[in-house]
C-alpha cells in the first residue's frame, strides 16, 4: 500500500482487514464517541501498523484497568523519562504507568474532559504547563486507575511538575520522591564518569544516584514482595535496550530517507512509547518492530508521502496540540530530527556494569537535568548528522524552562549549524493560533528555499 495521510474514518477501513491484531484493536472512531474529538481533525498514516499504534495509545486506560483487575501492581512513575520504568518492568506482575501523559488529554479531548477546569478550580491555572491536566486526572479518577505506588523525581526538574506533584501528594496520594541532582560539568580535579553520549560528568553525582536507586530498589522489593535482584534488573535493561534500538532504527530510517516515509505525528507517538511503553512493554516492542519494517519497506520501494522537496525540520519540545505535527507536512516541511525532551531515552543503557550503576548513568544523561547548553550540543550534533535545514523550538505555555532555553538553544544552533530557527508557542488547543503557526512555518520554509 502506498503511504499517505488519511482521516480517522479512512484509517478505520482497515478494521477487520488485518489478521492477528490484539484484542484492544477496534474502530478508532469509538474513541471519538468517548470524547477524543481531536481525532476528527488529525490526519494519520494509512498503514496497518499506524492503525495498531493508535489503538494501542488510545486504549491505555482500559488496559490499565484490566491489569488492575488481573492483580498487577501499578506504579506511577512521575517526572521520569526512562529510569524507574525500566526498574519496574523488570519485576514480574508489575507495570509502570506515566501519569505525566495526561499532558495530552486536553488536546485529544479538545478540552471536553474538563481536566484543565479541575486544575483551575484547584488554583493551578494557565500559568502552569499543560501537565496540570494530570492534577485534574487525579481528582476525577476518570482517565487512569489510581496507581498503587507513586514515585517521582525531584531536584533538577521543572517547577511546574514539582509544584503540581506536591499538590497531588497533599491531596492524599503519597509520593516517594527521589533526588535527581542538577548534572554539572566536572571540575578539573574531580573524578569523572562518561555519560551515555560520552561526555564526562562528576563521578560523585553518579554515586548519589546509585544510592537513590538502591533505596528505591528496596522500596520496590518491599511493595511487590519480589526480590529485585541484579539479575532481573539486568534482564529489564536488556529488554529496554531492545526498544531503544528499535526506536533508534526507526528515527534513523525516517530522518535519513529521501522523502517522508512516516508522518511527524506517528513518529512523535513512537518516541513516547519508548519512554514508558504505554503500560505494555511487550506490545511496544512488537509495534516499534513493525513500524521499522514498514518504513524500511517504504524506503526500499521509494514510497514517499508528498513530494521529496520538503524542507527538513528539526523539532525541539513536544507539542501540546498534536494537530501541529500534521501542519508541518501541510506546509511543505518534514520532520528530520527531534528533541522531544527525551533524547537520552534513545541511548543504550550499558549492560556490562552493575544495573543500578547503568540506570544512574541513564538518568544523568537526561539533558533536562543539566543545562540548555548541553541540550543544544546534542541538537547540533544530530542536525549535522541528519542534515536538517531548519529548527523549530516549540514553546510550551507556562513551562518554567521555556522562557530560558529557547534563547540559548537558538543562539547555539545558529552559530554552530548556520540554519534558521523559529520559536512557536503551542497550547493544548492551538486552533486560534493556527494562522500564526502556519505563517511562521511557511516563512521558515521560504528562508530555507532562499538560502
Amino acid at each position: 500500500m502506498k503511504p499517505k495521510k488519511v482521516t480517522v474514518e479512512k484509517l478505520d477501513e482497515l478494521h477487520g482487514k488485518t489478521p492477528g491484531l490484539p484484542a484492544y484493536c477496534g474502530k478508532l472512531c469509538r474513541h471519538i464517541d468517548d470524547g477524543d474529538h481531536r481525532l476528527t481533525k488529525l490526519e494519520f498514516d494509512n498503514s496497518a501498523i499506524s492503525y495498531r499504534l493508535w489503538n494501542f495509545l488510545l486504549t491505555e486506560e482500559d488496559r490499565l484497568r484490566e491489569a488492575r483487575a488481573a492483580g498487577k501492581y501499578i506504579i506511577g512513575t512521575m517526572k521520569d523519562l526512562g529510569t524507574i520504568p525500566v526498574m519496574t518492568y523488570s519485576i514480574p506482575n508489575t507495570i509502570a504507568f506515566y501519569p505525566d501523559g495526561a499532558w495530552w488529554i486536553p488536546c485529544v479531548m479538545e478540552l471536553s474532559g474538563g481536566l484543565l477546569l479541575e486544575a483551575d478550580n484547584l488554583g493551578i491555572d494557565e500559568s502552569f504547563c499543560p501537565v496540570r491536566a494530570m492534577l485534574g486526572a487525579f481528582v476525577t479518577e476518570k482517565h487512569f486507575p489510581l496507581p498503587d505506588l507513586l514515585i517521582c523525581s525531584s531536584g533538577a526538574v521543572c517547577d511546574d511538575f514539582s509544584a503540581i506533584a506536591q499538590r497531588i501528594e497533599a491531596m492524599g496520594h503519597p509520593i516517594e520522591w527521589w533526588e535527581m541532582p542538577h548534572i554539572r560539568k566536572p571540575t578539573p580535579e574531580e573524578k569523572t564518569i562518561p555519560l551515555l553520549d560520552g561526555s564526562p560528568a562528576p563521578k560523585i553525582q553518579h554515586e548519589y544516584l546509585i544510592d537513590e536507586f538502591t533505596r528505591l530498589r528496596l522500596l520496590l522489593q518491599e511493595k511487590t514482595g519480589v526480590e529485585v535482584s541484579d539479575k532481573i534488573l539486568s534482564a529489564g535493561i536488556k529488554r529496554s535496550n531492545k526498544i531503544r534500538q528499535l526506536l533508534h532504527e526507526l528515527r534513523d530510517t525516517v530522518f535519513l530517507a529521501e522523502g517522508i516515509v512516516l508522518p511527524a505525528l506517528e513518529l512523535l507517538i513512537a518516541e513516547m512509547l519508548a519512554i514508558h511503553y504505554c503500560s505494555d512493554i511487550d506490545e511496544t516492542e512488537i509495534i516499534l518492530q513493525e513500524m521499522v519494517n514498514e518504513v524500511k519497506n517504504r524506503v526500499a520501494n521509494g514510497f514517499f508521502i508528498g513530494n521529496k522537496s520538503a524542507t527538513k525540520v528539526f523539532w525541539v519540545n513536544p507539542v501540546a496540540d498534536l494537530r501541529v505535527m500534521n501542519m508541518l507536512e501541510e506546509y511543505g516541511c518534514r520532520l528530520c530530527g527531534t528533541d522531544f525532551m527525551f533524547t537520552h531515552a534513545l541511548d543504550q543503557i550499558p549492560e556490562d556494569i552493575p544495573p543500578l550503576e547503568a540506570l544512574a548513568l541513564a538518568a544523568m544523561s537526561d539533558s533536562m537535568t543539566s543545562g540548555s547548553t548541553q541540550r543544544a550540543a546534542r541538537i547540533c550534533k544530530d542536525i549535522k548528522k541528519i542534515g536538517s535545514e531548519a529548527l523549530i523550538i516549540s514553546k510550551i505555555p507556562g513551562a518554567s524552562h521555556c522562557a530560558f532555553e529557547g534563547k540559548i538553544i537558538s543562539e547555539i544552533v545558529k552559530r554552530e549549524c548556520g540554519i534558521p530557527v523559529i520559536e512557536i508557542e503551542v497550547p493544548p488547543m492551538a486552533d486560534v493560533m493556527m494562522m500564526n503557526i502556519k505563517t511562521k512555518i511557511k516563512t521558515l520554509k521560504e528562508i530555507v528555499d532562499i538560502l
Binding site: G123, G155, D211, F404, I408
Partner: protein, 289 residues
C-alpha cells in the same frame, strides 16, 4: 569590590563565604532600581538576581538550584563568562543522599572560593561568627492585627507594603517569605566546632523549612506552630508572576490555616505604594478583618 562574593539564597551560609576571606554580599541587599522591566515567563525575582549579578563587580557570584527558574537564570548568567558557582540544593531532605549532597556542595564551594583567591576556611572564626548571630525576637505588638507575610522573597520595595499594612492598624508579626524568619538557621555551636560540614548541613539545609522542598511538610509544620504561638489574625501572600512553587500552594495555605487570606501577585518593578488596585484590595481586606 574584588574581595566580595555575591550570593542569592537562604541555603548559602554567608559565614562560609566569610571564613574564606571574602565579604558576602546578599543579592537582596542590592539596589533594585536598575531593574525596569521583567521578561515574559520569567520570575521577576529570579531575573532581578540575574541583573544584580550582571552589575556586580566583585570576585564571584553564587547561585543555587533551589528552583528551576533560579537554576536556569544562572545558566544565562554563566554565558557571560563570569565567575559563577552554582550550588546544587537538593529538593528532598529526608534521606542521607540529600544531606550528603549538601555537605559535598559546601566542600566544592570551599574549593571554588580558594581558587578564586580566598583563603583556607578558618573554622574557629566560623564558630565566633555564629556566636554573635542572634535570632531576632518576635516583633512586639499592641492592638494591631497580626499578619503573617508569605510568598516570594521580600525586597526593598516591600517597605511600601509594610507601610500600607501599618496604615490599617496591622503589623507583620511573622515573616514567612522565602528568605524571612524561617531562613534563619539554628546552629548548635558545639556540633559546629566538632564537625562544621555536618552541622551546617543540618542547620542550613535539613532543618530549613522551605516551600520548595519535597515534600514540603516541614514548612507547614513550622508555620503552623508559629501562627499559633503568635496569634496570627490573617495571612498575606505575595507571589511573583510565573512562580509555580508559591502559586501552587495558595489553596493549601488557605485550607490549612483557616485564616483570612489575601493573595496578590506583584512584579518587582511595581511598588505596592503605586499599585492602586492592591491598595483597594488591602483596604477591603482589612475592613473585613
Amino acid at each position: 569590590m574584588k574581595n566580595k562574593v555575591l550570593y542569592s539564597s537562604q541555603y548559602i551560609p554567608p559565614e562560609w563565604i566569610k571564613i574564606h576571606g571574602f565579604q558576602p554580599v546578599n543579592m537582596i541587599s542590592q539596589n533594585n532600581n536598575a531593574f525596569q522591566e521583567s521578561s515574559e515567563g520569567v520570575c521577576p525575582y529570579a531575573e532581578l538576581m540575574f541583573k544584580q549579578a550582571e552589575l556586580f563587580d566583585g570576585s564571584a557570584v553564587v547561585f543555587t538550584t533551589r528552583c528551576d527558574q533560579m537554576r536556569r537564570i544562572s545558566e544565562l548568567y554563566s554565558s557571560s563568562g563570569a565567575k559563577l558557582f552554582l550550588m546544587n540544593i537538593p529538593a528532598t531532605w529526608q534521606n542521607q543522599t540529600a544531606i550528603g549532597i549538601y555537605k559535598d556542595e559546601l566542600k566544592r564551594l570551599s574549593s571554588f572560593l580558594i581558587q578564586t583567591g580566598g583563603t583556607e576556611p578558618d573554622f574557629e572564626n566560623l564558630v565566633t561568627l555564629f556566636k554573635n548571630k542572634k535570632r531576632p525576637d518576635p516583633p512586639k505588638v499592641g492592638n494591631e492585627k497580626r499578619i503573617a507575610l508569605m510568598g516570594g522573597p521580600a525586597i526593598d520595595f516591600d517597605s511600601g507594603l509594610i507601610n500600607l499594612i501599618q496604615e490599617h492598624s496591622a503589623k507583620i508579626c511573622l515573616d514567612a517569605t522565602e528568605i524571612g524568619e524561617l531562613a534563619i538557621p539554628d546552629v548548635n555551636l558545639k556540633k559546629l566546632a566538632d564537625d562544621p560540614y555536618s552541622e551546617l548541613a543540618i542547620a542550613y539545609f535539613a532543618n530549613m523549612p522551605d516551600i520548595a522542598k519535597r515534600p514540603n511538610k516541614q514548612f507547614y509544620e513550622h508555620i503552623d506552630e508559629m501562627v499559633k504561638q503568635r496569634n496570627i489574625d490573617a495571612i498575606i501572600v505575595r507571589t511573583y508572576p510565573w512562580c509555580d512553587i508559591w502559586h501552587a500552594e495558595i489553596p493549601r495555605i488557605k485550607e490549612l490555616f483557616k485564616l483570612p487570606l489575601l493573595h496578590f501577585t506583584a512584579d518587582v518593578c511595581t511598588s505596592p505604594k503605586n499599585d492602586s488596585r492592591l491598595k483597594t484590595r488591602l483596604k477591603a481586606f482589612f475592613e473585613i478583618l
